[in-house]
Amino acid sequence: MTSLSPEKLTITVRGVTVTYSNGHRAIEEASFHLEAGCICALVGVNGSGKSTLFKALMGFVKPTDGDVLISERPVLEAQKRNWIAYVPQAEEVDWTFPVSVWDVVLMGRYGYMNFLRMASSNDKKIAEESLQKVQMWDFRDRQIGELSGGQKKRVFLARALAQQSRVILLDEPFTGVDVKTENAIIDLMRELRAEGKIILVSTHNLGSVPDFCDHAVLINRRVLAWGPLNEVFTEENLTKAFGGVLRHFHFDKSTIDDNDGRSVTLITDDERPLVLGKGGHLEHRNLTNSKEGNEP
């Protein structure tokens, strides 16, 4: 199997419409295009068709119209080539199953193994490296239910790494996860981006997006905007995507200039806030680690 064929890695979604058998039209004429080496956020409210679009990318639902292509090939072919990896949400996994951390990570290698799914020494080596990378090697013999939320997430991240895919899909990766794991996930995503992979993150947590994503797709049944993050994340687009769901706090009479000039403290109880400056540009951005450092 040639996991490193010369063709360029792209994701092309072209005019995709998904209508379920009960007549519900989940997404309509969605189109966007992503190229190798990017971390893209898929942002939308619940029921916006976000998860349907994810399913279309994984080949679980067949678009009623349009194409989903990975490196110009249909999704089903991409699956067979081990191009797609998926990191599930915690509630999608039954943690009572009698499997160890090691068993789970080896499942990422099944696509490379023979029909008896016997792990070669290479499979074991890659699985070990993947576990080391997320600092879970010492936990390899634990039953998966005996882990903390963050550890659980890292095990499934290791499985995705072991799969050596080109595209990695993460569904709400920061739900129920400690800060240490959150940072580890972000570091890992940047590493994978540097290797030329496409990482697609589905999330409703707006504020964290500018920390690690360089592209975004805003969806509300239709794709409202897509492209580089600072072009997409404008107040106008976000209002369109989230409608009445978002809470707006306008600091009309900002005292920034009267005081120390630059720094603002924003205290929030739960999810990270998104801070936009005057004119709607992104105010808060984690510039130290981002690849291209778009100055607002």
Partner: protein, 287 residues
């Protein structure tokens, strides 16, 4: 004394009953691991009833009963899937309606057309009077099921544990589901002849449930369940000779006894171990 204990083995019908039971118990035990984890207990019960019309027709036509059972089982699961798509009723209600209908058709067929099988055989099994032809069929079914599970257990387990991953890897998930359903149908036929329709589901669930309590690894769980299924069936059939009781009854009572013992004494998941754990943490708190 020893000759008393070996008495059951002096009769050919008891030899057959004991060894066939042990084999069927082994296959059922192995499959029970998948069913307990997949949550298919009700499905096992449903299929074991739904295959009856197929068994009756196959007997009447003189074709292998496994074939008839397979056709009826596939029709039943197909009907369940089809109704699920068409009508908005809960799954368990659909399964309940379909399997009792199939069972009823089976009973009707038995009562309308005279055939070598009677209701008693269906309900209680017929292991003591099993024909050589049926033994050959049971051997074939068991060999097929054992071979399939041996080759595909990792794929089947992945599909049970994480169907999304199985699909992302491009595995034929529909085929895996069909494979498990077919294994279930075939094993149900085997178990039907051993313990009868009412007790099939016990053979198909209890060893797996017991093994689950005793292990944290699927591989170990399968070995334990295989061993338990076969041992309890062997002993159950053997012991039934002495008190002249029902073979199926004694097998299932044995299996349940072992389950209860495991439930109480299992090293990690048993109630004693859990209590001990609580006591320990309490003691730590008060230190």
């Amino acid at each position: 004394m020893i000759s008393d204990l070996l008495m059951p083995f002096q009769y050919e019908y008891m030899q057959k009953a004991i060894f066939v039971s042990a084999l069927v118990g082994a296959v059922c035990g192995l499959l029970s691991c998948f069913l307990t984890l997949k949550g298919w207990s009700l499905m096992g019960d449903a299929l074991s009833h739904a295959i009856i019309p197929g068994v009756v027709v196959a007997y009447g036509l003189g074709i292998p009963i496994a074939l008839g059972a397979f056709v009826a089982g596939t029709l039943a699961t197909g009907a369940i899937g089809w109704i699920k798509e068409m009508v908005a009723i809960r799954d368990d209600a659909i399964i309940g309606v379909v399997f009792s209908t199939f069972f009823a058709i089976g009973l009707l067929l038995i009562s309308l057309y005279p055939s070598p099988i009677n209701l008693k055989m269906i309900v209680f099994g017929n292991i003591l009077g099993i024909s050589d032809q049926d033994i050959v069929q049971l051997l074939a079914i068991s060999a097929l099921c054992l071979a399939t599970i041996f080759i595909f257990w990792k794929d089947l387990f992945l599909w049970c544990f994480d169907p999304i991953q199985a699909q992302v890897l491009g595995f034929p998930v529909r085929l895996l589901k069909f494979m498990l359903l077919t294994l279930l149908t075939l094993t149900a036929v085997a178990a039907l002849q051993t313990v009868g329709v009412c007790l099939v589901v016990a053979m198909l669930i209890t060893p797996g449930a017991t093994a689950y309590l005793l292990s944290d690894r699927f591989g170990t769980m399968m070995i334990i369940a295989l061993f338990l299924g076969s041992l309890t069936s062997f002993c159950g059939a053997y012991l039934s000779y002495f008190f002249d009781g029902s073979v199926g009854g004694s097998i299932v009572v044995l299996q349940t006894s072992l389950f209860l013992i495991a439930w109480i004494f299992a090293p990690k998941h048993g109630i004693l171990a859990m209590k001990g754990f609580k006591m320990k943490s309490l003691r730590l708190e008060f230190k």
